[in-house]
C-alpha cells in the first residue's frame, strides 16, 4: 500500500491534496468539511485587512458544450474579520491536528506582516503562504502581483516573513511575468522554505457581445481577472518545470494551476511538485472530488511501484530539456489501424488543411471499408495532428522508424557537425 504522506517544505499532511487559497478555503466550516471529505491540507483564503467585494465576481469559458474549461475571478482576499478567521483556524487545527492548515497572507507594511504572522502562528498555522500573486484589485493597492513582479520587493518581504515566522514559509508566485525563474530565486534568496505556483493569470474571460461589456460584469463595467481552471494547466506545468529543472532553484514547490483530477496531480508531481493545490475544480464540483484523487494516485503509485511520494516527485524533470537538445534524427510516422477506423476522415482534413497534406482519402471511394484513409509515409512528418483529432482510441499511432541516421541534436549539429536526416514535407 503506497504511503501518501506528504512533506512539502516541512509542512506535513496525510496526502498531497490541498485546497488552494480561494473561496473553498474561506471558512472553518468549509475547511473542516473538506478535511472530512479527505483533503490533506488547506491554504486558508488570504488574510489581510478585510475588503469589500463586487458582484458579480466569476466568469467562465465553455468549449464545445463543456462548461467552464477555463474560469476567472475578480474576487479579492478575505472579507471576514481577522478575529473570526483566526478563531476558526484554531478550531480547525484542534479538530484536525494532522491536517495541514497553511495560512495565506497579504498585508502592506513590515509591522503588519509581523503582527499577522504572529497571530496566524498563534492560531495554529502549520505554514504560511505569502500571496504575491493576485493579479487584480490588490495589485492596484501595491500588494499581490505588484510584489510578485518585483524580485527585490519579493525577496525583502519574504525575508521579513521568514524572520518573524516559526513555521515554514511558502511564497506564492504570479505567472504574470515573462520568466518565473528570477522570481522563484528571489523567494529562495529571501529565505522562503518553498514556493507555490501558479497564481491566476491576468485575463479577460469573455465579452458580453450583446451588452458590449467584458465579463464578469459589474453594472456597466468589468475589469481584468485571474484566469484558472483546467485550461491553464499547461502554463502552470511549464512554470513549475522552469523552476525545478533549474540547478539554482532548490526549494520545494507546491503545484497549482488547472489540477482537476489525480492524473493532473501526478503530472505536477512528476515535474517536481511535492504537494498540489486545487481550487477551481472544487468550486465547480465540490470537495467530494478528492476521493477519486486519492484513490487514483494510490492506484497509480501501486501500479508503477512507487511506495512514497518522494519516489515520483520530480521523476519527469530530467526529461524536460531545451529544443536544441532534441534528437533531430528521431523519426515517427503515423499508422492507421484499419480495423478501428470509423471513416470520419477527420485526420484527412486536419492533415490537408492543418499539417503536411500526407493523409489522403482512399482512391476507391465506394463502400465503407475504403473510407479508411491512406498515409503517404514518404511525406508524413510525424507531427501527431492526425492522432490528436482521431476520435477512436489507439486507432492512429505514431510509430518510430529507423532512417539509418545516428542521433543528432541541433546543438551537436552546430558544434560537432553531426549529419541530419533529409527533411520531409518541406518541398
Amino acid at each position: 500500500m503506497p504511503d501518501l504522506t506528504t512533506n512539502c517544505a516541512g509542512i506535513r499532511s496525510p496526502n498531497p491534496f490541498w485546497l488552494a487559497s480561494a473561496p473553498p478555503a474561506n471558512s472553518g466550516g468549509q475547511v473542516q468539511r473538506a478535511f472530512d471529505a479527505g483533503w490533506g491540507g488547506a491554504v486558508w483564503k488570504t488574510l489581510g485587512q478585510p475588503i469589500q467585494n463586487v458582484s458579480s465576481r466569476f466568469g467562465a469559458i465553455n468549449y464545445s458544450g463543456t462548461r467552464a474549461i477555463g474560469f476567472n475571478n475578480i474576487e479579492l482576499i478575505t472579507d471576514r474579520s481577522l478575529e473570526v478567521n483566526f478563531r476558526e483556524i484554531y478550531e480547525t487545527k484542534k479538530k484536525f491536528p494532522k491536517h495541514a492548515v497553511v495560512v495565506s497572507l497579504m498585508v502592506e507594511t513590515q509591522e503588519e506582516w509581523k503582527d499577522i504572522i504572529k497571530r496566524s502562528i498563534d492560531a495554529g498555522a502549520d505554514g504560511l503562504e505569502l500571496n504575491f500573486g493576485c493579479p487584480h484589485g490588490m495589485c492596484e493597492r501595491g500588494m499581490g502581483s505588484a510584489v510578485g513582479q518585483e524580485p527585490l520587493v519579493n525577496e525583502r518581504i519574504t525575508s521579513w516573513a521568514v524572520e518573524y515566522s516559526t513555521v515554514p514559509v511558502l511564497v506564492k508566485l504570479t505567472p504574470n511575468v515573462s520568466d518565473v525563474l528570477p522570481h522563484g530565486l528571489a523567494a529562495q534568496k529571501g529565505g522562503a522554505h518553498g514556493v507555490s505556483l501558479i497564481n491566476t493569470i491576468k485575463s479577460i474571460i469573455a465579452v458580453d457581445i450583446d451588452r458590449f461589456v467584458p465579463e464578469p460584469r459589474v453594472g456597466s463595467l468589468s475589469t481584468n481577472g485571474g484566469y484558472c481552471g483546467a485550461a491553464v494547466k499547461p502554463i502552470a506545468l511549464h512554470m513549475l518545470a522552469r523552476l525545478t529543472r533549474s540547478g539554482e532553484f532548490k526549494i520545494p514547490v507546491s503545484g497549482i494551476g488547472g489540477i482537476t483530477n489525480w492524473r493532473d496531480a501526478v503530472e505536477f508531481m512528476l515535474l517536481g511538485a511535492s504537494s498540489v493545490q486545487v481550487c477551481t475544480e472544487v468550486m465547480l464540483k465540490g470537495y467530494r472530488i478528492v476521493e477519486d484523487m486519492i484513490e487514483g494516485l494510490d492506484e497509480y503509485m501501486a501500479s508503477h511501484g512507487f511506495d512514497t511520494l518522494d519516489q515520483l516527485v520530480g521523476k519527469a524533470v530530467p526529461a524536460f530539456s531545451e529544443w536544441g537538445d532534441l534528437d533531430l534524427n528521431y523519426e515517427t510516422i503515423a499508422k492507421i489501424d484499419a480495423k478501428k477506423c470509423i471513416g470520419c476522415q477527420l485526420c484527412v482534413v486536419a492533415c490537408h488543411d492543418g499539417a503536411h497534406q500526407c493523409i489522403h482519402q482512399s482512391k476507391e471511394t465506394n463502400g465503407d471499408a475504403t473510407r479508411v484513409p491512406v498515409i503517404d509515409e514518404s511525406e508524413c512528418v510525424g507531427c501527431n495532428l492526425c492522432k490528436i483529432v482521431c476520435p477512436v482510441p489507439d486507432c492512429i499511432s505514431m510509430v518510430p522508424v529507423d532512417n539509418g541516421f545516428a542521433p543528432a541534436t541541433w546543438n551537436q549539429h552546430v558544434t560537432e557537425g553531426l549529419p541530419l536526416r533529409p527533411k520531409k514535407g518541406a518541398h
Binding site: I342, G343, C344
Partner: protein, 437 residues
C-alpha cells in the same frame, strides 16, 4: 389557392412520437457531432444536406445559419426532419455506429433548426431574375413544391396544378400524424410558396379538366410530380363490402377530417410495408380495441422499416404473419375476413383457412405506379421511364434528386466535369432540353 383544412380532425389526438429538442438538449447533441469530413451522413441524405455543417452551426448557436444550410439543400427540410427514415439514411451511416457509440440524432437536430426558422419567421431565398420561361408542375405535393421553389430561385415562372382542394400532397394527406400533422404540412407549403411567383391552381385534374397537351403548349417545361396512385386491391370476393378501404384513402380521411370508427372492435390492416405499419399504429391510437396487421410473409421479411415495426410493436399492435385474406364476408358490411395460411414461399397452405373478425379492413398492399399515373394524365409514355418527347417532361424523383446543389458542391462538380472533358451536366437548365433522370 389551397382551401384551409378542417380544425376538427381525427389526427388531432396524436402527439409527437419523437419529442422536439429544447435548446440545451440540441446543444448537447450537436456538440457530440465529430464534424466528419466527406461525411457519410451527407452522402446518405437524398438531398445531400451538409449535415456536419448544420450541426456545428447549432453547436455555435448560429441556428439561423444552420437552418439556411438545411433549406439551401432541401427547402422541405422541416417536414423531412419529421418524416425522413433517418435510421436507414444519415443516422444509420453515422460513424459513431462503428464506434459502438449512439449515433447523432440528425433528424431531431434538423427539426430543431427548421422549427426555429418557422417560429421566428426566418426566410432565406428570393426569386431569381425573371427568365421569361414558365414551368407547369402537376401535383402540389413535396416534389412539385421543392421543384417550384428551386425554379423560382432561378427566375422561372411556375404554375402548380393540383386536383385536390388542399396542397402539400402526401405530406398533408398521408404522413403518420405522430410524425407530422396536416396543418404543419400546409404551413410548410405556404412557407415555400412565399417565395412568390408560384401560381397554385387547386381543383384542377390534368387529364380530366385539362389536357396534358394544353400544359405542354402553355409552358416551356412540364414537371410531373404526381406521386403514386390509388391503393391496390387484393381482388378477392367481398372486397367491395362497406368497411373495407384502401389504407392511403382512409389515412387521408383521418388527416383531413373525422373518421367514424363507432362499432369497430376489430380492425385488420393487410400488408407488411410502411403504410401498413402506419395504419395499425394509427387505428390503435384512434381507439380501435383490436388492431391486427396481416402479412403474407414472415416477420423478418416485412418490407416496412424495422425501426418502424419495432415502434409499432412497442405501442402494442398485434400481427398475423404468413396469412392472407381470401374473402371478406358480412351482411351489408364487412364482419370477418376469411384467411389462409401461407408457407415460407408465400404459397397458400391447402385446408388452412380460418376466420378473423373485422369491422374495418385497410388494404395497404401498394399503390398504382407512375406509368399508370402518367397514362391517367393522358400521357403517351406509359412505361414510367420518365423520358418523354425531347425530354421536356421530368419525372419527379429524378428532378428532386438532382436539384440544385449547394454552391460549393456545384463548383466542385463543375471542376470535376471539366477535368473529365465535359460540362457540368447536372444543373437544371431550362431550354437546354437536358434529361434530368
Amino acid at each position: 389557392m389551397s382551401k384551409p383544412i378542417p380544425t376538427e380532425r381525427s389526427e388531432s389526438v396524436f402527439s409527437d412520437f419523437k419529442h422536439e429538442y429544447a435548446p440545451h438538449q440540441a446543444a448537447v447533441e450537436a456538440n457530440r457531432c465529430l464534424y466528419c469530413s466527406d461525411a457519410p451522413c451527407t452522402k446518405a441524405c437524398p438531398t445531400h444536406i451538409d449535415v456536419p455543417e448544420f450541426i456545428r452551426k447549432i453547436a455555435t448557436e448560429n441556428v439561423k445559419g444552420s437552418a439556411r444550410t438545411i433549406f439551401d439543400a432541401n427547402i422541405l427540410g422541416m417536414s423531412c426532419a419529421r418524416v425522413c427514415p433517418v435510421e436507414v439514411l444519415c443516422v444509420g451511416d453515422c460513424v459513431y455506429n462503428a464506434m459502438g457509440v449512439p449515433p447523432i440524432q440528425i433528424g431531431k437536430l434538423q427539426r430543431y433548426a427548421t422549427d426555429q426558422a418557422y417560429e421566428k419567421g426566418w426566410r432565406f431565398f428570393e426569386a431569381g431574375k425573371p427568365t421569361g420561361k414558365s414551368v407547369g408542375l402537376i401535383g402540389a405535393g413535396p416534389a412539385s413544391l421543392a421543384a417550384a421553389h428551386e425554379l423560382r430561385r432561378m427566375g422561372h415562372a411556375c404554375t402548380i396544378y393540383e386536383k385536390r382542394e388542399v396542397i402539400g400532397g402526401l405530406n398533408t394527406t398521408g404522413v403518420a400524424p405522430y410524425k407530422m400533422r396536416a396543418d404543419r404540412s400546409v404551413d410548410e407549403a405556404e412557407w415555400v410558396l412565399a417565395i412568390g411567383g408560384i401560381d397554385v391552381k387547386t381543383g384542377v385534374e390534368i387529364g380530366k379538366s385539362h389536357a396534358f397537351e394544353e400544359l405542354e403548349k402553355k409552358h416551356d417545361a412540364v414537371f410531373v410530380g404526381v406521386g403514386l396512385g390509388p391503393d391496390t386491391r387484393l381482388g378477392v370476393p367481398g372486397e367491395e363490402l362497406p368497411g373495407i378501404h384502401g389504407a392511403v384513402e382512409l389515412i387521408e380521411r383521418m388527416k383531413l377530417g373525422k373518421l367514424p370508427l363507432q362499432g369497430v372492435k376489430h380492425a385488420l390492416v393487410i400488408g407488411g410495408g410502411n403504410t401498413a405499419i402506419d395504419g395499425v399504429r394509427e387505428l390503435m391510437v384512434l381507439g380501435v380495441p383490436n388492431v391486427t396487421l396481416v402479412y403474407r410473409g414472415q416477420e423478418p421479411k416485412m418490407p416496412g422499416y424495422r425501426h418502424e415495426w419495432s415502434a409499432a410493436r412497442e405501442a402494442g399492435v398485434s400481427a398475423l404473419f404468413q396469412a392472407v385474406p381470401v374473402a371478406f364476408e358480412g351482411s351489408g358490411k364487412v364482419e370477418r375476413a376469411r384467411c389462409v395460411r401461407m408457407d415460407e414461399n408465400k404459397k397458400p397452405i391447402a385446408g388452412s383457412e380460418f376466420n378473423v373478425a373485422a369491422e374495418l379492413v385497410l388494404m395497404a398492399i401498394g399503390q398504382s405506379t407512375l406509368g399508370e399515373q402518367l397514362a391517367s394524365l393522358g400521357h403517351r409514355d406509359q412505361k414510367g421511364s420518365g423520358r418523354h418527347r425531347r425530354t421536356r417532361c421530368h419525372r419527379a424523383q429524378g428532378l428532386v434528386r438532382r436539384r440544385r446543389l449547394s454552391q460549393r458542391w456545384q463548383r466542385s462538380r463543375e471542376r470535376r466535369g471539366r477535368r473529365q472533358g465535359r460540362g457540368a451536366g447536372h444543373s437544371l437548365a431550362l431550354g437546354r432540353q437536358k434529361c434530368l433522370i
